[in-house]
């Protein structure tokens, strides 16, 4: 056994956990770790803001399923990670943030750059740790990785006092850990499985409502099998996009506040809903009292607290989504009996809804329609790009108008809705998947929240593409002002817009501008053909709104629809 200092121990632990890259930003409290990192085989990506480091780690984690790792200094470095931690935790993304801390004897003294980050981050993490001895470092790191990646994954913070990093101890990585109090419940209860299977087989108008849990548990294949076996249509949440193939004939698109007409209608008429890895978020249910009034509900969730939280369900299945679906498939057998005629009728009803009200937007006029840009990107990438988004209207258009075939192909900040997530997350995805075409679909508001990351992109030579749907406004908020506040556009106009082409060029990145509909195709083509990173500035119609839209307090079939011209 060898003695080494805390910094080396930390890096050895990371290696044992299979970490290949660390995102972060240095400071006095962590400088020794950076020196040790520089001598190690690990890659360090220096983002230009600690918030961006966490989003980049999220992008890495969301696109691979492996934990994302962040290293930042004490005080302001640590507090800058809070938004990232909260967003990752809400979206069940395994992220570990290691923060520097002042030396143990200074803790509690209001020392320079001292913040009680364990206290501050407690409500936004799954768990956190203050390491009080170099001897405990390895076992704490092991436990931290286990907690972040198991059960319902989440964000974990580990706070490292400077003298714990500088101290020495024997390095011994524990092979196993057992936590008295923490044992995630992964296997479904057999009785609930057979009840679920029976309900699925009997239902005449069943619907699967799939969420991010399908993606994080790797259950896409099982979901497709179940859907095809019983001819059940599937709708997904924003987080679930890609969890079921976007071009599959049984796919209805996203549901909820900006869900597709047929998806929302199907929820309201279904007689059985299987909620798989989804949590009945208020953006999905609309007026809860009138949500799915005719349906019995089967709910699969690995997190016990999600079950019966928003509404009472008929069959609760506390389990990993993949294991639950596998168990249901087993219970159903090869060729289960189900009311085939009724299902055909149900599917043709859904098809009729789609004919009545497909996704629509204005296709003519002198201005670029933002939806058309997303569709052009879909066409030009043949549906194969990884799409990352910021938050706002553009996020919803990216969710509606690009069809995601594979899990982890659509990456977005769902639960917390963090503007400024997209560019750094995009960078993290590209680090994880150098061969992939990765595109950030952005708004002109959001992109400015972490625009400094273009410097990281340039330094790391990451060929990411950024497509700004520039409506010179905080479009999503303005949409609410327009529809529900009589057009009072208070504090939502972002004009004049910066010259994004010049801005990109200032970072050493190519910029492209499109001002007319005829220029969209060429702009996308040029930006994609360019080998390095590129920023596209699409000056889009500022009047474009996201439809359908379920107004607050309405049932999800009470949608406002795109006006017919």
């Amino acid at each position: 056994m060898t003695k080494m200092n805390g910094a080396r121990i930390l890096i050895e632990c990371w290696k044992k956990e299979g970490v290949e890259v660390v995102f972060g930003y240095p400071g006095a409290a962590t400088v020794e770790i950076h020196h040790a990192l520089a001598e190690s085989s690990l890659r360090f990506v220096l983002t230009r803001h600690e918030q961006a480091a966490v989003h980049a780690a999220e992008g890495y984690a969301r696109s691979t399923g492996r934990p994302g790792v962040v290293l930042v200094t004490s005080g302001p470095g640590a507090t800058n990670t809070i938004t990232g931690l909260a967003g990752a935790n809400m979206d069940s993304v395994p992220v570990l943030v290691f923060t520097g801390q002042v030396a143990r004897m200074l803790i509690g003294n209001d020392a320079f750059q001292e913040v009680d980050i364990v206290g501050v981050s407690r409500p936004v993490t799954k768990h956190n740790y203050l390491v009080l001895s170099t001897h405990d470092l390895a076992s704490t790191v092991k436990e931290a990785f286990y907690v972040a990646t198991s059960g319902r994954p989440g964000a974990v913070l580990v706070d490292l006092p400077k003298d714990v990093i500088g101290g020495t101890a024997e390095f011994q990585y524990p092979k196993k850990i057992s936590l008295k109090a923490y044992r995630p419940h992964l296997t479904p209860h057999p009785r609930q499985v057979s009840r679920a299977a029976a309900l699925l087989a009997q239902a005449e108008r069943p619907l699967i409502y799939a969420g991010g849990g399908i993606v994080s548990s790797g259950a896409s294949e099982e979901l497709v099998r179940l859907s095809e076996l019983l001819n059940i249509p599937v709708t997904t949440t924003l987080m679930g996009l890609g969890g079921f193939p976007g071009t599959h004939p049984l796919f209805l698109g996203m549901l909820g506040m900006h869900g597709l007409y047929r998806a929302n209608m199907a929820v309201q008429r279904a007689d059985l809903i299987l909620a798989a890895g989804a949590r009945f978020d208020d953006r999905v249910t609309g007026a809860l009292g009138r949500f799915a009034p005719e349906a019995a509900i089967v709910h699969i969730d690995v997190d016990t607290t999600s079950i019966h939280k928003i509404l009472d369900v008929d069959v609760p299945l506390v389990a990993d989504a993949r294991q639950a679906l596998l168990a249901i498939l087993m219970a159903l057998g090869e060729a289960p009996d189900y009311p085939k005629k009724a299902r055909e009728k149900w599917l043709s009803q859904i098809e009729a809804w789609n004919r009545e009200e497909p996704l629509r937007y204005k296709k003519d006029g002198p201005l670029i329609q933002p939806q058309a840009v997303v569709e052009e990107i879909y066409r030009a990438t043949r549906g194969k790009a990884v799409i990352v988004t910021e938050v706002g209207q553009h996020q919803m258009w990216a969710a509606q108008h690009y069809l995601y075939e594979r899990p982890r192909q659509f990456i977005s900040s769902g639960g917390l809705g963090v503007m400024g997530f997209g560019l750094p997350a995009c960078l993290g995805v590209q680090v994880a998947r150098p061969e992939a075409l990765v595109i950030d679909i952005a708004g002109d508001g959001s992109i400015l929240m972490n625009i400094q990351e273009l410097a990281t992109v340039a330094q790391e030579g990451l060929p990411v593409k950024v497509a700004i749907l520039n409506n010179q406004a905080l479009g999503m908020v303005r949409q609410w002002q327009e529809l529900f506040y009589g057009g009072r556009y208070a504090q939502t106009i972002l004009s004049p817009s910066p010259d994004f082409v010049k801005l990109a060029e200032a970072f050493g990145i190519r910029g492209f501008l499109a001002e007319k509909p005829a220029e969209v195709e060429e702009t996308v083509r040029l930006a994609l053909a360019h080998e390095g990173p590129a920023v596209m500035d699409f000056r889009v119609d500022p009047a474009a709104l996201v439809y359908p839209m379920v107004p607050a307090g309405k049932a999800i079939d009470e949608m406002m629809l795109s006006p017919r011209s």
Binding site: R122, P123, K180, A181, L288, R290, T304, T305
Partner: protein, 192 residues
């Protein structure tokens, strides 16, 4: 989501939770942050080691409607350091609290009367001065309330109390998750 506190008062109920936790730094803060973060007040709290020095028990009293309490219990169970949460309310359990109270005792009549009350409530006089008696009373909440009520007429000068602590009479079975309840829970939750 929002846990609204404006529930009809008749639905509010006092719950005594026994929370077994790892005896590690910060665990009490985790438990209390979780509850206060949802806008709830803790009525009473006590913490102590159990037979196993690595395990502590937090006894906590909180008032709320059944849905919110059940959600809080589930959230507590999710904390990494929480080993077990038992809602003792509705089960057979004993609870005790210790209270010290200084009452005016100037006249002979008052002194005699207070001594008699002490007998009835099995309280102890633990300090005596020319003008006051200090009593120690232990018991369940109801007994303590009754005693305080009677002592009020003498004039209470000061009063301090420990948190309530509680213990099940025998090992209660954990209440089943999601016992049958109404279907839709809170239609108010769906606002923007």
């Amino acid at each position: 989501m929002e846990f609204s506190t404006d529930q009809p008062p008749e639905k509010l109920k006092r719950h005594t939770l026994a929370i077994l936790v790892d005896n590690s730094p910060g665990v009490l803060a985790r438990v209390t942050t979780l509850i206060s973060g949802r806008g709830f007040n803790i009525d009473s709290l006590s913490v102590a080691e159990t037979m196993d020095p690595e395990v502590s028990v937090i006894t906590l009293i909180i008032t709320g409607n059944p849905r919110i309490i059940s959600q809080i219990i589930k959230q507590l169970r999710k904390l990494i350091n929480v080993i077990r949460v038992t809602d003792l309310s509705g089960t057979d359990y004993v609870e005790r609290q210790l209270i010290m109270v200084r009452v005016k005792a100037e006249s002979d009549g008052a002194r005699a009367e207070i001594t008699r009350l002490c007998d009835i409530f099995r309280a102890k006089i633990i300090d005596v001065s020319l003008k006051s008696y200090t009593l120690e009373i232990t018991g369940g909440m109801d007994k303590i309330k009754a005693a305080l009520n009677l002592l009020k007429s003498f004039g209470v000068e000061e009063q301090v109390s420990t948190g309530l602590t509680a213990m099940a009479r025998s090992h209660p079975a954990a209440p089943p998750d999601g016992a049958a309840r109404g279907r839709r829970l809170d239609p108010k939750n769906a606002d923007g």
